[in-house]
């Protein structure tokens, strides 16, 4: 359900970028979604489809790359990428770990189209 809040935040960013590059259309939005971000990609896409109407991203496609969950062991320093619990170091078995990634939802980059001669369109 909180995908709607996230997409509202995404459109704040898109509006800001549209102002910076005006006049422009956003043609693609590339997101990186952490495996354990708690975000459902399908719901994110549905919310995006609803939100984009009437904005500079109306024609934009959304791509979502899933980022694996990743942590470093504080005991042996090894990195692990477990798909599911136990979330313990795969090398030494310690549960004393520092989370490194796979929890966030990041707007990585946008593709935009601008008019060649500003002010003529």
């Amino acid at each position: 359900m909180h995908e709607l809040s996230l997409v509202a935040g995404l459109f704040d960013i898109l509006e800001e970028k549209t102002r910076e590059h005006q006049p422009c259309r956003i043609t693609a939005v590339h997101l990186k979604v952490g495996r354990l971000s708690g975000v459902v990609p399908d719901l994110l896409e549905s919310a995006f489809t609803v939100y984009k109407k009437g904005t500079s991203a109306e024609e934009a496609v959304l791509t979502i790359e899933i980022v694996p969950f990743r942590f470093r062991c504080r005991k042996c320093g090894g990195e692990s990428f477990p798909e599911e619990p136990p979330f313990a170091c795969t090398a030494c078995g310690s549960g004393d770990v520092e989370l490194l990634g796979g929890m966030d939802v990041v707007v990585e980059r946008l593709e935009i189209e601008t008019d060649d001669a500003p002010g003529t369109s």
Partner: protein, 223 residues
Amino acid sequence: MTKKEVLVLKDLLGTNNEIAAEIRRETESRGILAVNLLSSPGSGKTSLLERLADKLGGRYRMAVVEGDIETERDAERIRARGVPAWQITTGGACHLEARMVGKVLADIPAEIDFLFVENVGNLVCPASFDLGERLRCVLLSSPEGDDKPKKYPKAFLSADVLILTKSDLNAYLPFDPAKAAAEALSINARLRVFAVSALKDEGVDELAAFFVEALENLRSGCA
């Protein structure tokens, strides 16, 4: 027409995290221990807070922020125990965000010891939103089943404390508290685990003592 790529690299939860960091700085500099309680609906967050109000009320000053989709009911229950409470009704949103807590923080007296924030009942979405708390507690009640941690890993992964609630029902249910705790610890080995029955007043003293110790650690500058 020119095509361009624009690098953004912004976390969609970035704004929430910034407000949460501000709340954390503010509460910690005032020596207030902020605790975020997170669980499914009906797992006993408000009942636990009522008991904690009785335990901590005489010696410490506490305040409660209640998050619900609708009604003032939970805040009224807390106020009936003599503890000031603020109700946030989200009007549909399934979680509290730092901005909502920040708005009521200005009304909360500066000279309190504990600020408990009871999140909207939901084991999924609240896990993604930092509210500026120092301790995050996830509650799991025996009727929910001991298989929940792996089904909702983020709630358990992001918490500092696991509170197994309604322990008075364990004898009547196929709920194994040791299995529930082991499964949660396999997700997050740093969890401190407590078992309580708010109804029978069992285990709440130990939990209250833990919160008092955490408050003392905060004020003495320990981690």
